[in-house]
């Protein structure tokens, strides 16, 4: 198979090898991209070119550091959830998403009647009181466009790993993937 041929998941085989080699992190050596290309037996210019391409097309959001909020003193997070008027949610969601204490803001489906909320905004703070104060600021921004809201505080981290591609594509064999 050609390296440029797309796999089912939209990546070329070459890109997939680069993802597998970097998803645990970038090597902490003076020439990290050389280390990756040596490991893969590829030319370093090609690796850098593919990484630039993956950045440009959004497969890589960014290359950088992911702080562990908890270890850095941001011990509380609250998933604030809002029932916002459908006509206004896009504009207001964008405003909420730009707040510096909001890490993610998404539009998600309601599950009526149990779950009336369509806007989710993750809020980080040093403790639950700080989270609550920040949620109050969001409430002000949303004003009359919101009907109900709630804050789901994190009471325990049960698991935190992030994405891991497995070395072999599993989509063809869902039974073994979840066994």
């Amino acid at each position: 198979m050609s390296d440029q041929q797309l796999q089912d998941n939209g990546l070329t085989e070459l890109d997939r090898r680069i993802v597998l080699a970097t998803q645990q992190g970038l090597p902490l050596t003076s020439k990290p991209y050389h280390a990756i290309s040596d490991q893969l037996g590829l030319d370093v210019d090609l690796v850098q070119q593919r990484l630039r391409h993956l950045l440009a097309c959004g497969v890589i959001r960014r290359i950088g550091a992911v702080p562990n909020h908890y270890k850095l003193g941001y011990r509380a997070n609250g998933m604030s959830v809002w029932d916002v008027d459908d006509e206004q949610v896009d504009e207001l969601g964008a405003r909420v998403g730009r707040l510096d204490f909001v890490s993610h803001a998404y539009l998600r489906p309601r599950h009526l009647p149990d779950w009336p909320y369509n806007l989710f905004a993750m809020v980080h703070g040093r403790n639950h009181e700080e989270v609550t104060r920040k949620v109050d600021l969001i409430a002000e921004i949303l004003g009359d466009a919101k009907r109900h809201y709630d804050v789901l505080l994190s009471t325990r981290i049960l698991k935190k790993t992030g994405l891991r591609l497995l070395p072999e594509a599993r989509s063809a064999e869902p039974d073994t993937a979840v066994a």
Binding site: Q7, N9, G10, L11, V19, T22, Q23, Q24, G25, L26, L28, S30, P32, Y33, H34, L51, L54, V59, I60, R61, R62, G64, A65, V66, P67, K71, L72, D90, A94, G97, R98, D100, F101, V102, H104, Y106, L107, R108, P109, H111, W115, F120, H124, L152, L153, T155, I157, L158, K159, K160, T161, G162, L163, L166, R170, S171, P174, D175, A177, V178
Partner: protein, 147 residues
């Protein structure tokens, strides 16, 4: 945690260059040395202040799926259910939260079909309903945590 550690975290949330000596490039901006920057990064990864350092991949752009899910888990079986859910490699993170829907986890898979397969597995193993909250729109991602 000194000022250099803070500067490194704040600077490196914004992006990292693709060039032959990227650490050297950033070190100059932060008025430190390449060796010192690498040593600080290694220390912060080792003690957990940084969850990771490297490319952050967007699963959807790779044809994969990322779906937030929630369950209402009775307290007497909570830990047992958490263990079963966490055992699945497609579960990226999982939080206990203060709500009737008290277990919230994210499924990250390489295909949309695999999401349904994993949801079926969880519902089959636990006998509980999995509510799915797929992302319909994304307003902004990327906390610039000031430390």
């Amino acid at each position: 945690m000194d000022n250099l550690d803070r500067d490194i975290i704040n600077r490196l949330q914004g992006g990292f260059p693709i060039c032959d000596r990227p650490y050297q490039h950033i070190a100059e901006q932060l008025e430190t040395t390449e060796d010192e920057l690498i040593a600080r990064l290694r220390a912060m990864i080792d003690d957990g202040r940084l969850s990771r350092f490297g490319p952050l991949y967007n699963v959807e752009k790779m044809g994969g799926s990322f779906v937030l899910c929630a369950m209402c888990v009775p307290s007497d079986v909570f830990d047992e259910v958490a263990e079963r859910v966490n055992a699945l490699p497609q579960v990226a993170h999982n939080y206990q939260r203060s709500h009737r829907l008290n277990m919230w986890f994210v499924l990250a898979t390489e295909s949309a079909e695999e999401i349904s397969a994993v949801v079926d597995t969880i519902q089959g193993e636990t006998g509980l309903v999995v509510y799915q909250f797929p992302k319909l729109d994304e307003y902004y991602i990327g906390l610039q945590l000031a430390v």
